[in-house]
Subunit: 216 residues, 4 copies
DNA sequence: TATGAATGAGTCTTCATTCAT
DNA sequence: CATGAATGAAGACTCATTCAT
């Protein structure tokens, strides 16, 4: 909107090339930019430009940058995480639980390719936008539940005593979301364009299978 | 410019709380802030304040924010990574290699507690400061070497054929550096202050042992 | 960010001395300051203050200091120079051409009192903002054309053989734009407030007449 | 002196390549930079770097940027101008005076190639470092004297009545110092590397001769 | 005589945010 | 609904200047 650029546009062209104006489209674009630049570093202008809209529009719709982030979290991130949670309902043994989680996490990660990257990155930063969400909304629902089930299994002798149930939950993330989030880099350094979604899933499930299969 | 004032200050000594002025101390403080805020988001003022110094000082010593990041990378990150590399010299079988890597990674992570967080986070971001370093300087030295050894072992039948050697390297990171980087969060959500360094290492080595032990 | 304060200000109206906010007015003020301080030395704050506006406004309108300078060049300097060029269309003999150029230059200088100063000064500096413009856009249009006509005349014996046609063009500037640019100083050192615009023009035309009239 | 750069120098090379440390050499370098960048825009670091010296050294020698400029003015500019003044002692008729001034100005300009550029440019700027010098020290000595002589001659009928004696002095500058100051540009736009010092002088003297020769 | 270290003030620039229209 | 205009706050960076050594 600096007239510097808009001057060119005043010459007679249709004013807006393709205004992605619905709330949902704006959220899509926001997620795009958040994934590429990181939430903190993403500017409203980045997002607005990407969406063919003025920054003022974003304020109009979301009130705040914080409001925009909040909307992304509530309407997208938590929705996706909720789907993951839904998969974990059935009671299972350790191997079954690990497999189910892994399968569900990979599925979600493939369905929402922005999720793993955003999740891993924004949870590790001290002020990360998703850290708060993890601690307050997700943790009681998923990680703690799983850790408890591992713990119970361990007390029943169904889980290797040398493993810590809580760290095992962290490991599940490190074996599913983390590789998905890191995909662009390992694709690059290994020239690994041949590893597609099913291949990743197969590898991951095989590996987790090996962890789970070995009896205590 | 105002010699009047600066002379006045000579009488009433400036607070000068704790001028951490040597280059090395400045790098320490910079790393602190980089870990907390992320490299991109960290401002020179943050770092300068932390070090009891003016932002201009940082420019004096490092010329640039980029220069400061560069110094951190060269003099700290690569030094630590180099130590990791040194551990991987001996030829070993798959189980040995995985164990050695894990042991070394955990040791380095404990010796330089800032490294895992910085590494994991700054490699995942598209413009992350360490991504470049990984791709150009570390990848040929470590990940590709390990992947090759896994690959060789696999062709000799010593590694489960369902696993991808390259993803296995990613998994090693996901099981070592990632949990260390995420420690503050899982400590918080699991109230896991009882899990200390040796405990993490023991758990991790046990887990990786289980992965490696199972014959193809 | 501090809505508290900005709402407070709505009650006690801000001074808003005289917001010279249109693009054209901003350019006027910019030229004022450029002439007084020199383009390089002029700060955006100088210009903004003069215009009753914040520096950020200038960035909003022109994107850059360079953008502002560019706008001044394109929309003001080149416009004025273009008017000069328009006067030089008719083919004339040496005396006529010199007289026409001088008359037009003085007229333009009087119509845009900022032009001579800006032009002379910013062309002489190595990194001067107008040097580039002179070399690439004005030179082929005006100085080289005139020099060619002088050269032709000389080969026809209509111009003193001891004179260099190209230096003669430089002299035309030195006799027209330069005195106008230097007016404030010679007014001061000669206490010459009695010399007004018509007087300068008369003197200059008389002088140039003397140069042109003398046959080879 | 930012350690950033000096680190390379610490490798074992002789610390200073070629320290131009005498006061006179420092002034030489300062003039070099002043001519290239303009006095205002020239930074002490520019000059210090050029001289292979620290900025602190310049403060040590000249106390101030203003002090450095003052030294340049007193010890170089005024010295050169003084030489010009010395040439103008003899009483002469109008033609003789103009010729003498022109010859002397060209000679000085060639002897001190930095003078014309510095002079013309720094006198035209409102806050130019030489404007002050012109008004207070040079004007009474040279321009006003010459103008008086022109005026006397005019009252004796020896100078065209249509010319203003004071503007005529300005013209002398515009025909001598100005072309010398502008030499780099007209050399460029006219591809005029063939015009050397004697050629400029010859042209200029011929032109001024034409002005002076014509009887009233 | 000389300088490395340090800084306060100021430059350009960007950003989130506001508001009248 | 939507935006162009505008801004305060802050960021990186530069510079002249000081001072202990």
């Amino acid at each position: 909107m600096p007239p510097t650029e808009s001057r060119a546009r005043k010459t007679g062209r249709p004013p807006r090339q393709r205004a992605a104006a619905t709330r949902d489209e704006l959220l899509d674009k926001a997620i795009d930019v958040f994934v590429r630049r990181g939430i903190q570093a993403a500017t409203l202008r980045d997002i607005a430009t990407e969406a063919g809209v003025t920054p003022a529009m974003l304020h109009y719709h979301f009130g705040d940058k914080q409001g925009l982030v909040g909307a992304v979290v509530e309407e997208r991130v938590l929705a996706a995480i909720g789907a993951l949670h839904a998969e974990l309902g059935r009671p299972e043994d350790v191997a079954g639980l690990m497999g189910t989680f892994a399968r569900a996490a990979m599925a979600i990660g493939h369905r929402h390719p922005w999720l793993p990257s955003l999740w891993v990155r924004e949870v590790l930063s001290e002020g990360g936008a998703l850290r708060h969400v993890l601690v307050e909304r997700v943790a009681p629902m998923i990680p703690r539940r799983i850790a408890e089930r591992f713990s119970d299994a361990q007390s029943r002798g169904e889980l290797d005593a040398r493993l810590d149930p809580r760290l095992l939950v962290v490991n599940l993330i490190g074996l599913t979301l983390f590789p998905l989030a890191a995909a662009p880099i390992w694709r690059q350094i290994f020239s690994a364009d041949d590893i597609d979604e099913p291949a990743i899933t197969a590898h991951t499930l095989a590996l987790i299978g090996k962890i789970a299969e070995t009896s205590p």
